[in-house]
Symmetry: C2
Subunit: 214 residues, 2 copies
């Protein structure tokens, strides 16, 4: 299945463009958060938020009271962009410096999820995406909390991925220069667990939070 449309066709350096869900979905799934762009009173607004994907649907959520979240659903187009930065590309020329990255740009319309089961599943998917197995360990949302939360779905029908990987690409003449060149890798790392200061000592770290499980 291709998610390529006239709008998602990558024009700059087209060989970096990809339109297959086999490439796009893993990037969406690996990213901890996304950036949602929408129009509000004629201005573009971009906000970071967490997300989850279930089959061909992307879910985001937020406070039902959020002024911005109210701008998303309906006929307005939105754009969700997901970016994983894998490294800094150190070329021999300033011009050919770059990042190694995997990014996805999704165009679509946001719809409020009204069905209670789909809403529940979406919230669980967002939780599982953030920390697998956490949902089963914590107090589930009550009706008041569900009512205070808006879940928005975006159908993944129009999207593109753009990927740069590998060593720098320098001008032929520059390869003779005595300049160190290569890639400095970067990664969003999960680090240490800081217990809530009021957590009783008797409550140990669950297995699913231990190093190697995350």
């Amino acid at each position: 299945m291709t998610l390529k449309t006239e709008r998602t066709r990558v024009r700059r350096i087209p060989e970096r463009g990809h339109y297959d869900k086999e490439i796009i979905y893993p990037i969406i799934d690996e990213a901890l958060y996304c950036h949602v762009g929408f129009n509000h009173n004629g201005s573009p607004v971009v906000i970071p938020t967490i997300h989850a994907r279930t089959n061909g649907t992307l879910y985001i959520h937020g406070s039902a009271a959020s002024r911005l979240l109210k701008s998303i659903p309906g006929e307005n187009n939105i754009c969700v962009t997901i970016t994983l930065v894998d490294g800094i590309v150190l070329a021999r020329s300033a011009f050919h410096h770059s990042l190694n990255y995997r990014s996805v740009v999704i165009f679509g319309k946001g719809e409020i999820v009204e069905d209670p089961q789909e809403k529940w599943n979406a919230l669980k998917a967002v939780s599982d995406h953030l920390v697998p197995n956490r949902w089963d360990d914590v107090r589930e949302p009550n009706q008041k909390e569900l009512d205070a939360t808006t879940v928005i779905s975006i159908s993944l029908e129009e999207a593109s991925a753009k990927i740069r990987s590998g060593p720098p690409g320098d001008d032929d003449a520059d390869y003779a220069l005595p300049i160190w060149a290569g890639v400095l890798t970067t990664e969003l790392k999960k680090g240490t667990l800081i217990p809530d200061p009021v957590l009783p000592d008797s409550i140990g770290i669950p297995d699913y939070l231990k190093k190697g499980s995350l």
Copy 2:
């Protein structure tokens, strides 16, 4: 100096909102990249790119041939959002899960930098922001490369920061639950240096790229 306007006033959880450049500028400077939102043919479009700040001006750059970059300058409003994710907040209830983050939202208009010296300084600032001292070590841009590059400036006059830090905030009744709660820290880490496969062995790693310097 406050960068608060009606548009940048943080409405959701207003105690997380900040408008002082003393708080906003360090977030901009720490981030490796940003997301730029603008309208293109009536659709919001969000693209990731690298940036640098010089005093009260944000610079981004790209190919002069870029269709998208051509949409940015002029009377259209743009929104630049910068997000640093510091941790996953593991609350006792699903509802109070969150991220610790420092984000900045900037509204403004993009202007093409025409002055050659300002353009040069901006490109050097972007390079220094990516890897300090790298610019002085590599081949500088030639005229053809400068002509192929568009630099856009955005005046930092209207911006807000939103910050969440610290342990989870659970409902009073939930603190009695025997559930591990706290924060899992996250950080965009610089990792290892991978030499270009065609780099001669005689070219060693410069000091400014060695661990501890980055």
